[in-house]
């Protein structure tokens, strides 16, 4: 059991196994949707990334909302339903932030790239913003704690932070393959960046599970002493 007092009240206890199971579920959803997307568009996921990305975020995003809305930190003021709605707002805001970031880093700008960038940023948003908005709403202190410091108060911090970091770093690394002159279709924006983000996200899920188990062991060890 993991209960800690924060500035905003009491954190809900999350059993570690539950958290790990949730990670497992998210990973499976991601893998399954991407596999389904690959089979639905047998040759297209690389040449036509837009429908693939659309499919992936359309499953992963709501999945994340439903699951993370359970962990909302202000249950008293906010119903489960409102948390999900909040997730949608977060999805849109996060998409704007991610698209801006991508353009600043060098994503191509143009009408024919609009849908690609849009779907990619929605996917990134569901990896990064949706869990945090579902769980914290717009509580700045929580956001700051999760995304700015390296300390974690509870499992939920790991669960939000590590996969989000993984997705961003993975996308960043994925972009490094773009200038290479191999002339492969997957080097086009946003294919390799999306693959990088998804791989990073999966790695983040694993890392987060490991952290949670490790954290739990240590706490039980401390309690035992």
């Amino acid at each position: 059991m993991d209960t800690l007092i924060s500035e905003n009240g009491v954190f809900l206890p999350i059993p570690p196994l539950h958290a790990v199971r949730l990670h497992y579920l998210l990973g499976v959803i991601l893998l399954l949707t991407s596999m389904v997307a690959h089979t639905v568009f047998p040759t297209n996921p690389i040449t036509h990334p837009t429908p693939t990305l659309l499919m992936i975020w359309a499953f992963e995003g709501p999945g994340l909302m439903i699951l993370f809305a359970n962990f909302q930190q202000d249950k008293e003021q906010c119903s489960y339903f409102r948390a999900v709605v909040r997730g949608y707002v977060g999805l849109v805001v996060g998409a704007i932030v991610n698209a801006l970031g991508a353009i600043i880093l060098g994503a191509p700008v143009g009408f024919e790239y609009f849908t690609k960038t849009l779907n990619w940023s929605l996917l990134m948003s569901s990896f990064t913003f949706v869990p945090a908005t579902c769980a914290f709403g717009s509580a700045w202190t929580h956001w700051r704690r999760v995304f700015a410091s390296t300390k974690a108060f509870s499992f939920i911090d790991y669960m939000i932070r590590l996969p989000a970091y993984g997705a961003v770093i993975g996308a960043w690394l994925g972009a490094c393959a773009m200038p290479l002159d191999w002339g492969r279709p997957w080097q086009e924006w946003p294919v390799c960046v999306s693959y990088g983000a998804m791989a990073g996200y999966l790695l983040g899920l694993i890392a987060s599970s490991v952290c949670i188990i490790f954290h739990d062991r240590r706490q039980q060890h401390l309690k035992g002493e």
Partner: protein, 944 residues
């Protein structure tokens, strides 16, 4: 006690001007030495052999040669081969792309510049193969001088010659023109004066015209036309060379897709029509041009933007049109004929073939019957050779036993003999050059001898076999020469690399030393936490350096730098959000990066038409084109606006500033005066005033020159103030800011006028970014106060250098010789003067990316206050840190240079070594040396 005494003594010295100057000079010398040694090993010149071919040499060859005794007396009868043509008219049209000449049906899409030289299509399509269009493939580097050298010597160019393009030296190797002159051919030349520089003594008559003023489309061409036609009626020459430059210049200034280019091509069409008319009118039996060959050729191609120099297909593929005025009796056997035929727009059948430019010297020599140049490794091209009717009725073999040979067999036999001499000559050259080709030769000889012993040399299949054997030998030699021409001297290269790595360690050692000295002044906290930004700064420098190992990253270097800069900015922004300060500065920094990237992409679109830019921005550019006039107005007004803002910043920062007095104020006023002149020049550029000559003179010549003079005066004043200024005891931080501002403003007006209208925009972006970098430093201060000062400065210095790289690409440059903006060398001047134009070109190329960042670097240190340090200690600390910052900046440059060198060493056999890696190396080397030099000057200027 003694140790601390030593430290204080050293620290007193370290901040001093003389000491720092010596350190930076030492580093400059070390870098210079490293680059010099490496260059000696890497950019080897091909050894130019001084042997020449002679008529009598042919007796040593195993081939059948015409009896020598009487021909030695009478040169005009030829000595190696029998002359097949009497006279040759060579019309060189500089930068003649292949698609200027070939019909548009040979390409996917018809472009406006195609099908303009209709007269060539008409001639090539006439039945009877006496005229033909060739695709001529040049060897890079595709600059005029290099190509003329290659065309006349028949050898391969080497990289080091590129540098000579500004001052063409005479060719000392054996060459076509020398052989012509030696063997009694009278050569007349007109047009591009590069020919006269290459061959100062070989022409009977020459009419050179200056070639370096790219803005002048007509002088050279008009001069050519004026002299060309009278000569066509005269008989006192054997070879006539007319070199037209209009297309090259039109390309440089307006690009290929421009009305000027099309007008030029149509003008050439008219000229060529007239030339052909004159020649044909005198081509009757006994006429002046009975047996004349007309060659219309380009020396290299050009890209759509009119650039050339590299190895891209567009630059390498030029064309050659050959026409014999004597009609051929028959045509070539199909095996040696490589032509492809298509119908043109008017349903005429036109055939084209392909020829290596390398083969030109040998083929022309064979046609004229003169010895092949000693260094030629080309092959006599069968199709060009067969065009000349004279090659069909040379009876060099007395018919044995009355065998009647068909025309093509006779020609073939003759051709085999010509190839035999060709092969023998190449073999002789290679023998002298190296022993490597020996085995190949034995093989060929065997095949040929086999045939001889069976006395089968008259049968067509056997002749073909011989041709094949010779051709194989020649092509293997060419391939060998291409791949192994420059034998890299690995020992020299390794030594250079080691010296450079040593200089890195020197850098790091001094930085660490200074760290220790600084720590005496800084309150010591003891917790050495390296911030995340500092780690990323190190990582960014390393990532950028490692990226040079791949050619694709070198191509996209500008984008890589902007990517890293944006990443650094985002990390900074995140930090700012966390700290809840400087949020606006962080946001501004991040938002300006994409603007820089658009500049980089615009530059890239000029670099390569097939780059990602056009694909990704096609719609964007179209929308600009289709948009209302609003866009055009905005594009016109933006530079003025930027200029006004810059002037205002300068006014606000320096003139109204209390500590800015005397000379510095004068300098600032000078810059504001210069920028108003720039604005005036651009305003005159528009359509507001009727273009009278006075106004054109004022805007094109006087304003730039006044600005240069003002800039020089400003620098002079600053130097004087440094020499005779009083040493201040307090306020040196303020003083340094004023000094740096004055220095930057003194350079800026010259740089802006050279860069054109993009100048003020880029300058404004640079000012904003620099200001943000400096402001954002305070973010880290709270955390890093107790750290090594080198760690705390690493992030701003890394960003500063990334910004400098972005600025280089943003101003439309890239690391290749066609990336130099030659037009900027002629801002304010029309005549070519090596030193003056080279200086202007250097300022334009490296101004934004090297001169300004180095000169502005002290702002980083000066804008940072150390309130916790006691007043008397602040001055030595300040200068120690300034020294350290300069060392770190030099270190980042040196690290990327080191990786460039490693990359060049690894990729020295790469396909693109001369097209991509070597230019990158040269740009980096020049950039590093310039940075070192300017750091030296800055140390004299800023340190007291």
């Amino acid at each position: 006690m003694s140790k601390s005494g030593e430290v204080s003594w050293k620290s007193e010295n370290l901040g001093k001007r003389r000491w720092t100057f010596v350190v930076f000079l030492g580093i400059l010398i070390l870098h210079g030495l490293a680059i010099f040694v490496f260059t000696r090993g890497f950019l080897l010149t091909r050894t130019e052999l001084s042997q020449y071919s002679h008529c009598s040499d042919i007796q040593q060859s195993p081939c059948f040669s015409p009896p020598q005794d009487d021909q030695m007396v009478n040169h005009s009868k030829g000595c190696w081969t029998k002359p097949a043509v009497d006279r040759i008219v060579i019309i060189v049209l500089d930068a003649l792309r292949y698609d200027f000449v070939a019909p548009s049906t040979f390409f996917d899409e018809k472009k406006p510049w195609m099908d303009r030289l209709q007269v060539l299509h008409k001639l090539a399509s006439q039945p009877g193969s006496f005229a033909k269009i060739f695709k001529a493939i040049a060897d890079p580097p595709t600059t005029s001088l290099q190509r003329l050298k290659g065309l006349t010597t028949g050898g391969l160019p080497t990289f080091i010659d590129v540098g000579n393009s500004f001052g063409a030296p005479a060719i000392i190797e054996d060459n076509l023109i020398y052989q012509m002159a030696k063997n009694g051919k009278r050569v007349v030349m007109m047009g591009d004066d590069t020919w006269v520089q290459l061959f100062p003594q070989h022409f009977n008559i020459s009419h050179p015209f200056p070639s370096f003023n790219v803005k002048d489309l007509d002088t050279v061409d008009d001069g050519c036309v004026e002299h060309l036609f009278p000569y066509l009626y005269q008989e006192d020459w054997d070879v006539l060379i007319a070199h037209f430059l209009g297309v090259d210049h039109a390309g440089h200034i307006f690009g290929v897709d421009s009305t000027e280019m099309i007008e030029k091509l149509e003008q050439y069409n008219g000229i060529l029509e007239k030339v052909v008319d004159v020649l044909e009118s005198q081509s009757g039996p006994g006429g002046l041009h009975e047996n004349t060959l007309l060659l219309v050729m380009g020396d290299h191609g050009q890209t759509i933007n009119g650039d050339h120099g590299g190895g891209a297909p567009e630059e390498v593929e030029t064309s050659l049109f050959a026409m014999s005025l004597q009609k051929n009796p028959s045509s070539l056997p199909s095996e040696t004929d490589s032509s492809s035929c298509r119908l043109d727009m008017e349903k005429r059948k036109i055939c084209t073939s392909s020829i290596e430019q390398l083969d030109f010297a040998a083929t022309v020599s064979a046609l004229l019957g003169i010895p092949y140049p000693f260094g030629s490794i080309g092959r006599v091209n069968p199709e060009l050779y067969a065009l000349a009717a004279g090659t069909w009725n040379l009876d060099i073999f007395t018919p044995e036993g009355g065998i009647n040979l068909s025309g093509s067999e006779r020609w073939m036999q003759n051709y085999v003999n010509v190839l035999c001499m060709n092969t023998w000559q190449v073999k002789r050259y290679i023998d002298v050059y190296s022993a490597q080709a020996h085995d190949n030769w034995l093989h060929t000889k065997e095949a040929v001898l086999n045939c001889k012993s069976e006395s089968c040399s008259t049968l067509l299949p056997q002749l073909k076999k011989q041709v094949e054997a010779y051709s194989n030998f020649l092509s293997s030699i060419t391939a060998l020469a291409r791949s192994k021409w420059t034998e890299f001297n690995l020992k020299m290269m390794g030594t250079g690399l080691c010296i450079l790595v040593l200089s890195l360690f020197v850098h790091i050692f001094i930085i660490k030393k200074l760290d220790k000295l600084c720590s005496c002044y800084l309150p010591c906290g003891g917790n050495f936490v390296v911030s995340f930004e500092a780690i990323f700064a190190y990582a960014a420098v390393l990532i950028r350096s490692f990226s040079f190992l791949s050619n694709s990253f070198i191509l996209e270097e500008g984008k890589t730098a902007s990517f890293l800069l944006a990443t650094a900015g985002m990390l900074q922004l995140r930090h700012a959000i966390v700290k809840k300060k400087m949020f606006l500065e962080g946001l501004l920094f991040v938002l300006v990066v994409p603007l820089l990237r658009f500049g980089i992409e615009l530059g890239q679109s000029k670099q390569a038409v097939n780059s990602l830019f056009l694909k990704s921005f096609a719609s964007w550019t179209v929308s600009v084109d289709n948009g209302t006039n609003l866009w055009i107005y905005v594009a016109d007004i933006l530079p003025f606006l930027a200029l006004v803002i810059l002037a205002y910043i300068l006014y606000y920062k320096s003139i109204r500033h209390s500590s800015c007095r005397g000379i510095f104020k004068l300098v600032a006023v000078g810059t504001i005066f210069a920028s108003s002149l720039i604005a005036l020049a651009w305003a005159l550029d528009g359509n507001l005033f009727s273009p009278s000559t006075v106004i054109v003179d004022i805007k094109a010549y006087w304003i730039p020159r006044i600005i240069y003079v003002v800039g020089l005066l400003q620098l002079f004043l600053l130097a004087i103030s440094q020499l005779f200024g009083k040493e201040k005891t307090s306020g040196w931080e303020e003083g340094t800011i004023v000094k740096a501002t004055a220095m930057l403003s003194a350079w800026s007006s010259t740089i802006i006028i050279l860069s054109g209208k993009q100048g003020p925009l880029v300058a404004l972006a640079a000012v904003i970014q620099g200001w943000c970098v400096i402001r954002l430093m305070t973010l880290e201060r709270a955390k890093n106060d107790y750290n090594d000062s080198s760690t705390s400065y690493s992030s701003p210095v890394a960003k500063w250098s990334l910004l400098a790289v972005c600025l280089f690409f943003c101003t439309g440059h890239w690391c290749a010789f066609d990336g130099l903006r030659y037009a900027s060398a002629f801002v304010g001047f029309d005549e070519f003067n090596l030193i003056r134009q080279a200086a202007l070109l250097t300022i334009d190329t490296f101004g934004f990316s090297h001169i300004l960042p180095v000169m502005g670097l002290p702002l980083i240190v000066a804008c940072r206050r150390h309130p916790e340090v006691q007043a008397e200690k602040r001055k030595p600390l300040f200068f120690l840190q300034l020294c350290q910052v300069y060392l770190m900046y030099g270190l980042t440059m040196a690290i990327s240079m080191t990786f460039t060198i490693i990359c060049v060493t690894i990729q020295r056999r790469h396909l693109m070594v001369w097209g991509l890696f070597a230019p990158k190396f040269v740009f980096d080397a020049v950039g590093l040396l310039l940075t070192d030099l300017f750091i030296c000057l800055a140390s004299l200027y800023y340190f007291t």
